[in-house]
């Protein structure tokens, strides 16, 4: 691995470079999900009959998953706190709890999808289900990617290395959480 350029040690704006970067990543992700969600809303407004489809999605499963994600965001915050205090191993522990939250979310989702698929609701069933699987699928991909990156950061943090990255993955994780908080009412509650 080549050593870091001098450029990475500078901070002309006053904001740490890593944090700047993650916010820009988030900005572009917000527009991606924003586009998808806006498309869904436009379609939904034009298709009142989709209310029948949303009646199928189970609000209590969605609510449970929301709780799981919120809790995992909480542990991410605790991880950040620990990292701020210089306590790498503790931060790593909390990060791993967050990953556990992610895995719980994904497990619940796979059961949910398995059930819905077995009832015949596939991505091609109708427009609502196309959006449902696409939006939740894209979100799930971001959950998986986030969890993987978080695992690497946790491994480094446990050795008290690169602790500044704990905050960054935490910020990303909160974003993943926020996207879900938009998807949940749109796909589960609005009936």
């Amino acid at each position: 691995m080549s050593s870091r350029p001098i450029a990475t040690t500078r901070s002309a704006s006053g904001i740490p470079t890593g944090r700047l970067a993650i916010w820009w990543v988030l900005a572009s992700e917000i527009v991606i999900f924003g586009g998808l969600i806006a498309s869904y809303i436009m379609h939904r407004l034009g298709h009142p009959e989709w209310a029948n489809a949303t009646a199928v999605t189970k609000t209590w499963i969605g609510a449970t998953n929301t709780f799981v994600l919120l809790s995992s965001s909480f542990t991410a915050v605790l991880a950040h706190q620990a990292a701020e205090q210089g306590n790498g191993p503790r931060a790593a522990r909390f990060l791993r709890m967050t990953i556990l939250g992610a895995l719980t979310f994904l497990t619940i989702k796979s059961f949910e999808w398995g059930h819905e698929l077995s009832e015949g609701y596939t991505v091609t069933t109708n427009g609502f289900w196309s959006f449902y699987y696409t939006a939740c699928g894209l979100h799930a991909l971001h959950v998986i990617a986030g969890a993987v990156i978080m695992a690497f950061i946790a491994r480094d943090a446990a050795k008290n290395r690169e602790l500044q990255r704990v905050e960054l993955i935490g910020i990303y994780w909160h974003f993943v959480d926020v996207v879900w908080i938009f998807l949940f009412p749109l796909l589960y509650i609005a009936k």
Binding site: T8, T17, W24, V31, G35
Partner: protein, 566 residues
């Protein structure tokens, strides 16, 4: 012949990056990555240009075999125009203007030794290269390359039974999506590096316009591409999985795609315009020996253009079946955006006042940009005016308009930047005489191609048609089509002069020295080409003034480099 400085081994880049062949594949040095993008982009320009040659020959001599290609079928014609457009925008304009020059210039111009995320930088090129492979490979799959135009409107693009290029269509979507990812990754580097890695003393208003423009363009890109990425995913699903996002028979809406596409598509033209303008500004300042007139005005205008550009997109859809009242709103916003764009042009021209103008090859290209882009800009007014667009939509008038904007952006500005920064990149000077021959041999034929196309459009020639001889009212204009096509052939042939100039200069051009153009900006304070790390680590520059202090009254020299203490 330079001896390795003795202190070089003490600096943090003790490993000078990968050596040998690995350097070209695996380096994280921003200058190497820049070269990768540059040469890939130039290669793709050749591909796109040759595609244009083939389909224009078909239009000029319908049904006759095209030398070097053979007879062009209607399906091949559609694939050629689709991929010509897509390649020129996504695989030539963006990689060369933004990724190549952005990568090369930004760290150098801000006095940094590299980008702040060199490994993400390398990753961005690798993803980009993958997109190049996918789009090129798509030309050779069964059915051929995608044939639904670069705008890819569904249902044509979503259904293989309609477009008859089902594999090509999906590969096209994947290639474009990969290219988007590459530029999102690259954008992170450009933006954070400019914001954070500046040399001590370099305040926001000391940053050269080339850097500002690339970064603002990256911000514009990152904020506009999202909905289209979502749309591309939806289109891919429609193509491969059978969803109906854009299929009316399944409850979808084809016009949704258009909105998603153009919401990105319009800011995209400013994404490519801004870096071009940035290079032109920097080059004009150097060769007019003049301080840029109205730096802050320029900056604020550009930000204004960026913001306004998000509110004009439906001028591409006036007659698409949208509510006609929406057209009224969009015609107002579209025509108003001409004001800050005019601002840009006026500020550059005003910079010439009081100058001492040297007509070097880079300056000729920069001046040609201004002249040609102005034609593109004013002809946009016809299309932004909804009443006129209801006739001119999908005619050759549109095509001539956007070539008068895109050609200056993707070709003229790139030649300006290339001829200007060639000495810094390669350490040699290019041949001025060959440069000027190439210049005139490009610009004159360019106008000969596209001026006739305005007339064709006004008289009803519609786009994307492989032979206008099928239409009685349009047959009489065939001589104009032939003239335009022959001009294209001439233009392409003159590019050989450029290639020869590049090779000759690389091999035996005179040594460039550090600052052959006597410019103020930081990249000219280091070796040509710059070493790994750009400056010895104990000699990283500090900045004391802005980049355009030419002919300052307090000095004998007509330039004042940014890094010289007062």
């Amino acid at each position: 012949m330079t001896a390795e400085p003795a202190h070089a081994h003490a600096h943090p880049h003790a490993d000078h990056g990968p050596q040998g062949i690995l350097k070209y594949l695996w380096s994280t040095d921003h200058k190497v990555i820049a070269m990768q993008y540059l040469f890939t982009g130039m290669f793709m320009a050749l591909v796109g240009g040759l595609m244009a040659y083939v389909f224009r020959m078909q239009e000029a001599f319908p049904g006759r075999p095209v030398p070097g290609f053979g007879v062009v079928s209607p399906g091949q014609y559609n694939a050629l125009i689709t991929n010509h457009g897509s390649i020129m925008i996504f695989w030539v304009a963006m990689p060369v203007l933004i990724a190549a020059f952005g990568n090369f210039l930004i760290p150098l111009m801000i006095g940094a030794d590299d980008m702040v995320f060199p490994r993400i930088n390398r990753l961005s090129y690798q993803v980009f290269l993958l997109s190049v492979i996918v789009i090129l490979a798509s030309q050779f799959v069964p059915g051929g390359g995608f044939g639904g135009a670069w705008t890819a409107y569904p249902p044509l693009s979503a259904n293989g039974n309609y477009n008859l290029t089902p594999i090509g269509a999906s590969m096209w979507v994947i290639a474009v999506a990969l290219e988007f990812v590459a530029f999102l990754l690259g954008g992170i580097n450009f933006i954070t590096t400019l914001m954070n890695a500046r040399a001590p003393g370099m305040k926001a208003y000391d940053i050269p316009m080339a850097c500002w423009m690339i970064v603002i363009a990256s911000i514009l890109f990152m904020l506009s591409v999202g909905p289209l990425i979502a749309g591309a995913g939806m289109l891919l699903f429609d193509q491969l999985v059978g969803t109906g996002f854009f299929n009316p028979a399944k409850g979808g809406d084809p016009i949704l795609w258009q909105h998603l596409f153009w919401f990105f598509g319009h800011p995209e033209v400013y994404v490519v315009l801004l870096p071009a303008v940035g290079f032109v500004i920097d080059i004009v300042a150097v060769f007019a020996r003049k301080k840029l007139f109205g730096y802050k005005t320029m900056l604020y205008s550009v930000v204004g253009i960026g913001i306004l550009s998000f509110f004009v997109w439906a001028h591409h859809q006036f007659i698409a079946g949208i509510d006609p009242r929406m057209a009224d709103i969009f015609t107002i916003t579209t025509l108003l955006i001409s004001i800050p764009v005019a601002e840009l042009v006026l500020v550059i021209i005003a910079t010439l006042y009081g100058g001492s103008i040297q007509f070097t090859t880079p300056m000729l290209w920069a001046l040609a940009f201004i002249f040609e882009f102005m034609i593109g800009g004013v002809t946009g007014i016809y299309l932004g005016a909804s009443g006129a667009d209801s006739y001119l939509h999908d005619t050759y008038f549109v095509l001539a308009h956007f070539h008068y904007t895109f050609f200056p952006i993707a070709i003229i500005a790139n030649f300006a930047a290339f001829t200007f920064w060639f000495p810094k990149m390669f350490g040699k000077m290019m041949d001025e005489r060959l440069g000027k021959i190439h210049f005139w041999g490009t610009v004159i034929p360019f106008n000969c191609i596209f001026i006739p196309l305005f007339i064709l459009g006004l008289n009803g020639d519609q786009r994307r048609v492989y032979s206008h001889m099928n239409f009685p009212e349009l047959q009489w204009m065939q001589p104009a089509r032939i003239f335009a096509t022959m001009s294209l052939v001439v233009l392409l042939l003159f590019q050989l002069v450029f290639l020869y100039n590049v090779v000759k200069s690389l091999r035996s051009g005179p040594k460039a020295g550090k600052n052959p153009w006597r410019s103020n900006t930081l990249e000219w304070t280091t070796e040509s080409p710059p070493p790994h790390g750009n400056w010895p680590p104990d000699q990283m520059p500090t900045v004391y003034r802005g980049p355009y202090e030419y002919a300052h009254p307090g000095r004998d020299e007509d330039y004042w480099p940014q890094n010289l203490p007062a």
